[in-house]
Symmetry: C2
Subunit: 136 residues, 2 copies
């Protein structure tokens, strides 16, 4: 995924593509590891020395508002961000703290239930446990 592709993607969401914003989106598209704010900041700092963590926060909050990324609440310590808004679940390893994408083969689990009490906008399906690397 190139810088220009991230640039175009932002325009689709009517997000003005500044250098900082495009770099954050490019990073999210290329690193499907559901990074934290700190990880994004540390990764981009060398390339953009003036980057501040405030801008990373501002940028991610804007992306969420515009619907370009999803915030994951799977990890109680830090917010994590996912630019992949397609239907998939996540697995959180409580040993190493990594968040993995998790494809569930039953499509019906992703359907929004019908309930007159609730107007559902989105959902999150999260599994917890230990990953293979940590089990051995």
């Amino acid at each position: 995924m190139t810088y220009m592709q991230a640039h175009r993607y932002l325009m689709q969401f009517a997000i003005r593509p500044s250098v900082q914003r495009t770099a954050v989106m490019e990073y999210l598209m290329n690193h499907k590891t559901h990074p934290t704010v700190d990880e994004i900041y540390l990764a981009l700092s060398p390339g953009i020395p003036t980057l501040s963590k405030t801008t990373v926060y501002n940028t991610l909050n804007l992306f969420i508002e515009k619907g370009a990324v999803q915030m994951l609440t799977i990890d109680e310590k830090n917010a994590r961000y996912d630019a992949d808004t397609s239907k998939h679940a996540h697995f959180y390893c409580s040993s190493c703290g990594k968040v993995y994408d998790f494809m569930i083969s039953k499509p019906e689990v992703y359907e929004f239930p019908v309930n007159p009490q609730f107007n559902i906008h989105s959902m999150q399906l999260s599994y917890y446990g230990t990953c293979k690397n940590c089990n051995n």
Copy 2:
């Protein structure tokens, strides 16, 4: 749900039932609103004037460790706690911040998927949107 029932429930999990611990468990059993630490503390303070928030934190962490309650990560602001460990989903209203229990009729969504990469201990199914009270 009485104090004595909460007391017995704690014993089942090999949790020494102090006055503070039993009061926290009794509160969780009687208020299925997925309270935050602060809500629990504020509710119990009048009855137990010496209670400290540290003790509420200690107590809830102990309950989680022993498997007597589940921590919900549905709300990115505060941890929330649920003494009902049976299979059910949750709905988070992004307008009023309330967390509702949400029964999903399809039992298959609660089944742990089989995947050699992951050793699954638990899951959370969370829906986001606005509730009926906030829509009107």
